[in-house]
Symmetry: D2
Subunit: 341 residues, 4 copies
């Protein structure tokens, strides 16, 4: 079997997950890593065993010994990289969100249609085992017609203040809401047609991170379902987990509650209080397999390229997602509900 | 000590709680009960040991041997009874909501100001031990400035379909939202200034109860806090409790989560699945004391009349409450956010 | 009504609860307080408004203006005080455990039989609203015949290391196991006939408190039920509550789980991590009523004396309790199961 | 790469998991299936695509085109099959428990030592992502020295009454306790040296399944830790999951609580009450990968054979496990604690 030759762009936390996965999967070979910071690129080359380290993504996507690239750079930098890679007819796995403006996302959709490369967005919650089951239940009619719901995907202040260097260039809406809007579209198999949102700032700005504290909104879907959504970056650092992810749907025949992060399946009480550990995102496996939905999602991209399996999320999903997030921002700015064409 | 002579109007579930309380408290004496259905009135007279049973509230409030009355009739019938009682200078303990239109609530505010009787609204969640603590925490600054929150007070379909005979004349918004809006005003010690709401119908109508299935809304408070609120009557009957009450507030110094009904403090697994039993609403006591916050609230009315203690919730609270609920209905009807003067 | 004239012996945390209750209940009058530490006695006299402060319990129980006394001193000091009070024909409300040896408990049983005073043990969990419901469910046959169960009543190290000055003279078994054994006897309405126990020490001793870390045991009841019981004083201080109380019973028709302390009905995330607040032990009331099961239990003693209501727990309950705890210690020492006559 | 040629013995629920895994893993090829019931064997051959279906395990293990076998037959039938396979120098993956008597387990240990085949016991909870983390935490010293704990692995009556055809030939102790004892040995990296147990029967016998209802026991480990353990088959069928798995360890520096099955990460409320769905045992993956710890464990056997990775659990683990279970039965029969050599 000829292996898929991979390049990973972005040598941060997530790029490392991509590199690890391409090293483990039997169908792929990690060839090159790329980061604008040469030191980071070099360091990742060494830790991952990639053959090359580059600082210029253009140089990477033009190489003949690369079949496909992962884009794991900050949200707002995705577009030119993806466009360049698609133009070079490389397959692309992009971290979420696809892009941070509708215009950019539309360009990418066009470029994807014109390219011989496939484009997948790494909406890994589509293979989160809890949420994948919720989708199956909903799509099989187990809860009947979904009528209303509530969804939270929020972080403690640790994320904007300590984890993300580029928090001020993003927000809980783009960083977390992009996941949550996709999860809702995926589970309901439906599109958002109208949003109303309220936002506030102050806490993060006071802490030196110039972005919104949170967005609260109400999403109306074409099929009639109505869902409240919270994306906040100011949850207390005393939360038992740095992410609180909850989703609940009420249908006319039943109800489902998903709590991937605060369920207490694993509770740790050591110096520093009660903490809930993650046990589904990344899980231990033998050295020739990947474990956990975060890596499984990357594996699905390989399936799509190598075996022509369906893309987990394609460019149109990325565009629809961006449209909803942009509409939420527009609603929060205007104080009026916004319809999505 | 001369005992406060009480009349209870409305011989349903809640009127029975009032009657029991007035029988137990040392400061009160249950004199009369009243219901438009003579059979029910008579039956309650017998079970409660009241001296009289009447079918006409006008007759009750005009009696000289009555000092105070409880109004425990359906929501939409409160206004004329309260007005009559206040006009007769009786003290009045009214079940919530005070009234179902702003105009009615305003009339009651005027009548209360003109009467020698005191008027209290039985917003018993103000003495719910969980929520009372939340208020204390918030008002003491423990979580800093409240920034955002989420609140749910919803019922399974059991309530509109089987428990309430007059569900079609009310809705989850009026029946449950009245509690929740009051709890939020009480805890935040703040007023709602703007609301946006979405409502849907279909499930209850299909089941023969002609009212709304739910209201989802976003409440903005004068002090800046923003809260999503759900009031639904279509939760699955398979829920472990027929009521799901949750409240969470995120401040700039901390966070509080209250879950008075679904916390699993008492889980019962017998024929029919897993159920969570209530243990704070009504609790066992010796025969000369009342137990649980539902009865404590009634006791607070007696304190206010007998010892001039502060009213737990007064006519202005009832008016503010009604204004918010009416604004939610207006927003849901118009599709636009509504400001509250 | 002539008021019951009360003396409270022991001016610690719990004595304060007794004093407060006797000040609030309409049937009682707090006359005197007593503590071997004169400063504490005097301070409590001032805060409680009692007429007298004494340092000698003999002097207290011989006064003619005292009808009844509360014994709220450390566990191991109860016996002589109770005996003196009963000999003086005073009514006695004793904190738990009644006594710390079977011989002492037997003497008290004899003295109670010979006295004109009534003796109640303050096993307040009998009126814990969660556990009271569990008893009702079990005794009504709701779970059928109880077959097996598990019970935990344990504390974090905060209690032996920081809260209790006399921890070295007690243990989790006597301090907490006394409650739990009583709760099990009460709920099952049955007697323990055989115990096996294992104990260890080391953590508390290393921290300067010379007592056992925990006892784990298996209790067999006359009616056939078998229950594992844990009483530990070395839970992590990072627990969300300083007490972890859980009780579960499996019957042949159903199952009940009670979680009075770790249920998360009220979760507080402020400086210092996630904490679960108590909301059923003591709850807010108007100033003329008591609230919460901790005070209700004291009220039941007054009911028993003033209205001849049944004692919540009598001397025989105290004796049976002490027998079980002593047998657990004997089993842990011998490594063999111990039968209780 | 030459593929490992597999035979699966036992065409029940678990054998199907083995067959599926060997079909998916790139290193293995499912060659034959075997069941004493010819119809079942034939059916599994068809569904799995195996080349052969046999009814005689001796015939299977003597084939030259088979490198390794899975033993997924009922507990009490393992020994002769394993012995035959080892004698034929095949690699063996045995379902748990290894054997149901110490003597049998000892024979297997000898046979494994003499064979060129490797023997692994499928204690899949060693790769349960929650429990694997608990082991890592404990072995890294995160909770300090483990002092006491509690462990439950129990089923509702659904398992003995409806799921297992051979329940009367096993018990909750052998079926579930085998897992739990292994998990405790694995996490603590320590051996049980003394047990005391109580058992009862009645409920299952009344329902026509002639075995014990439950075993409750106290396990003492060589390193000093003491753990209560419950294995019951009579939990209420109204439980939200048919298995209740909980494990808690208290160390002198911290505490861990694991709740793999009742954590409510995914709650389903549809016809029939509230149910918690599994989301870690088996999880969705692309068609060339396995997902969930139940299958990962089978993958570890392949790793051990193909890459000489360490066995997840070997014959000595199986023997130690059987010794503890046998000692528990001996203690329950004698009423005395039993030391394990």
């Amino acid at each position: 079997m000829t292996k898929l030759r991979m390049g990973v762009i972005g040598a941060g936390l997530w790029g490392t997950n991509h590199a690890h996965t391409f090293n483990v999967l039997p169908e792929t070979e990690l060839v090159a890593v790329c980061d604008i910071d040469e030191g980071r690129a070099q360091k990742m080359k060494e830790s991952s065993g990639a053959a090359f380290a580059l600082t210029d993504y253009e140089a990477l996507v033009s190489r003949d010994d690369i079949d496909a690239v992962s884009v794991a750079t900050p949200d707002f930098t995705h577009t030119p990289i993806i466009l360049a890679a698609l133009k070079a007819n490389k397959h692309v796995l992009s971290e979420k969100p696809l892009a941070t403006t509708v215009r950019e996302a539309e360009k990418i959709v066009e470029a994807a249609a014109a390219s011989r490369g496939k484009l997948m967005i790494d909406f890994h919650n589509r293979v989160n085992p809890i949420l994948a089951q919720v989708r199956t239940m909903v799509q099989s009619g187990e809860i009947g017609v979904p009528r209303h719901g509530m969804a939270r995907l929020s972080n403690t202040t640790f994320v904007p203040f300590e984890m993300l260097s580029w928090a001020a260039k993003s927000s809980a809406l783009w960083f977390l809401g992009s996941h949550l809007v996709d999860v809702l579209r995926f589970i309901l198999n439906d599109e958002v047609v109208r949003v109303y949102a309220v936002t506030r700032d102050g806490v993060l700005k006071a802490g030196g991170v110039d972005t919104r504290d949170f967005h609260l909104c109400i999403l109306e879907f074409a099929g009639g379902a109505v869902v409240t959504m919270e994306n906040s970056w100011i949850l207390s650092p005393d939360n038992p987990s740095l992410v609180d992810f909850k989703l609940e749907l009420v249908g006319d025949k039943g109800q489902i509650q998903a709590d991937p992060t605060h369920n207490g399946g694993l509770r740790r009480m050591v110096e520093g209080g009660l903490r809930y550990s993650d046990y589904i995102g990344m899980t231990p496996t033998g050295e020739t397999r990947i474990g956990g939905f975060v890596l499984e999602s990357i594996g699905r991209f390989v399936d799509a390229v190598v075996r022509d399996a369906p893309l987990l999320a394609d460019a149109m999903d990325g565009l629809a997602n961006t449209k909803v997030l942009a509409a939420i921002e527009a609603s929060a700015a205007s104080g009026k509900a916004v319809d999505i064409a």
